[in-house]
Amino acid sequence: MSEAAKEKWGMVIDLDACDGCQACVTACSLENNVAFAGEESVAYGHGMHWLRIQRYWEGEYPNITARYRPVMCQQCGAAPCEPVCPVFATYHSEAEQINVQVYNRCIGTRYCANNCPYEARTFNWFDFEWPEPLNAQLNPDVTVRRRGIMEKCTFCIQRIRRAEEDAKAEGREVADGEVQPACAQSCPTQAIVFGNLADPESKVSRLARSARAEKLLEDLGTEPKVIYLKGGSDRDR
C-alpha cells in the first residue's frame, strides 16, 4: 500500500549461512511466550512454533545434502490471512507495514491458517501451562494466549515498539540494527538480518538488493517482507 511509509520492517535470511541449528526456533519461543506442547503433540501436529526450519534432502545417497529454510510469517503486504478473518483479528498495520494479530479479537475460525500459503500460523489447541518455576521465564512484554486463539510470528513487535519509544524519547530516528528480533539475535551464523526496508541504506536493504534475493512463493502476489538469499550448493544447481 503506502510504500512511502517511514517504516517498512523486513528481514533477510541468507540460506548459505543457515546450518539448521534451531537456535532461532528456541529463542523465538522464549521471547514470545510460545507454549511448549511436548514431543508427542508436536509430532501429532499440535506444535506451537512460530518459526520452523524446513529441511529438504537433495540428491541421492551418498551424494546427499540437507537444505534448510527457516520459515516464519512472511508479513505479507497483501496477506491472504487478513481478508478472510470475520472479526479483524488479523490485519495490515499501516504504521509498521506488517501483518498484526490481535489475540483478544480472535474467535478461532482458523480460516487464516488455512489460507496462509506459508503455513505460518499456529493455533492454541489447549490452555498450555508453564509449571513452576518455568512461569518465571515468561516475557512480561508479550501476552500469554489462551486456548482457541490463533497466533503467529510478529517480527517481535514488542522490540520494535521499545526501540521506537527509546528513539522518540531521545529525539532521534531508530538506528539501523537497533531492532533485533529474537531469531536474528540468536543466530550463531548471523544468517538473519532485520531492519527497515524503507531506508535504502540499511543493511537489510543492501542485502535485499543481492542477486541471490528471492521471496517465498512470490508468484502468489502476497508481497512478502522476508527475503531469502538463495543458497548455492556444492553441486551448484
Binding site: G47, V84, V87, P117, E119, F126, R147, G148, M150
Partner: protein
Amino acid sequence: MTANIPAIPLGDAHHDAEAEYREEHLMLDPRPREEMNNMVLESMRDKSLSFWVTAGVLGMLVAVALFGAWGYMIANGMGVTGIRRPVFWGVFIANFVFWIGISHAGTFVSAILRVFKAEFRRPFTRAAELMTTFGLAAAGLYPLIHLGRTWRFYWMIPYPNQRWLWPNFHSPLVWDMIAITTYLLSSTMYLYLPLIPDLAMARDHSEGWAKKIYGWLAMGWRGTEAEFRHLNTAINIFAFAIIPVMFSVHTIVAWDFAVSKVVGWHSTVFGPYFVTGAILSGVSAVTMVLALIRGTMKNMKYFIRPEHFDALGKLVLIFSMSWGYFFFNDFNLEWYGGEAAGHAVMEYHTKGPLAWIWYGMLIANLIIPWATLWNKNVRRNPWAMFVIGFIINLGMYAERYMIVTFVLSRGRMPFDWGWYKPSLVELAISLGSIALFLFLYVVASRLIPLVPVWEVQEGQLAHTLRKIGRATVISVSELE
C-alpha cells in the same frame, strides 16, 4: 355426504383406465375434506411406543453426543479433535457443508417445483420444507461448534458495540453467517405461511390445550378470500425469492473454499459444483425421509405413492449426471494443465493412503445411481430409493470430507504436508447432529400436520380426466 370437489366425470366404458389412474395418482384419487383431515390428524396424533422410544433415544443422543461432547470440547480446547496442522478444518466443516446441502432439499422441492407447477409436489412440500429448516438448524450449529472460542461467536454479528469494531465484510465467513441467517429465517417463514390454514384446521379439530396452542399459531385464520389472496401472493413471492437465495447460500459455502489461495480449493467451478452436489444430496435425502414417513406413519401410503418416488428418482438421476459433469470439469483441468502443487493434491486423492474414499465417492455418486435409476421399477420402490438415497448421501459426505481435509493435507510446501483423522469427540458431535435433525423431525411430525391438506385438496380440484378420442387422459386446470 359428498365432497366439495367435483368428482371425476365418470365415463361409461372406461372404468378400468380410471381405476388405474386413481390408484396411480393422488391428484386423481380425491377424498372428502373431512376424511383427509382426519387421516392427517390421525397420523399426527398417533404416538405409539416406538415413537416414544425413537424420540427418547434421539433426544438422549442429542444431549450426550452433541451437547455433551461439545461441552467437553469447549472446556478442554480444540486439541481434543483430530484437527492438526496443516489441516485446520476437519469434519465439522464437512458436516456443515453436508447439512447445508440437505437443507437444499426443501427449497428445491417446494419452491422450484411450485414455480414450475409440478403437481406431484403437493403432498410432500411440507415434509421437504421441514428438512430445510432442520437441516439448517444442524448446519448452523457447526460454525459455532468449530470456533476456537465459541463463547465469542457474537463478535461476528454486526451491531454497535463497546469495542467500536464491526465485522469484516471482506470475510467469506461473514457472508456465510448472513446468508445462512437469511436462508434460515426465510425458509422458516416459507414453512410457516402454507402451514397457517392447516394449523387452523388442527385448531378446529382439537380440544383444550391443543386447541389453544393451534389457535395461537393459526393467528386467527378463518380462510376468507382476502386471507387466501394475501397468503397466495406471499407464497408466490417467497417461491421466486427463495430460489436465488438457495443458490447463493451454497455458492457462498463454496466460496469459503474457492476464494482462498489454497490449491485444490481455488476453482471457479466450485459454486455450481457445490450447488449441484447439494441438490443431489438434498433430493436423495427427501426420498429417504419420504420412504421413512410412508413406512412408519399412519395413512401415509395414501399420500406418498410410488409416482412420487418415481418423479424424485428422475431428479436424482439428472442431478447425479450434473454433479458428474461439474466434478469432471474440476478434475480434468487440474489433470491436464495443473501445476505441480495441484498434481500433488490430485495424487493424494487418487493414489494416497485414503484413496478408497475417493473411489467410493465415484461409485456412490455416479455408478450406483446410473446403474439403477434408469429403471422405473427401482424408482417406484420406496425402500430401494431409500437405500440409493443413503448411498448417494454417503458419497456426497465423502466428497465434502475430501474437499476439506485432503486438500488441506497437501499444501504448497511439501515439508508441511500432513494428514487428518477425526477423533472420537468429532465423531460423537457428528452423530449428535444427525440425531438432532432426526429428533426435530420426529417431534415435528407429531406436532404439525405433515401433509398440506388444503394444497392437496386444491390440487385434486384442479385434476380431472377427459376423453380424447378413445383415450382417457389427465387434464389439469389452472385455478389461480
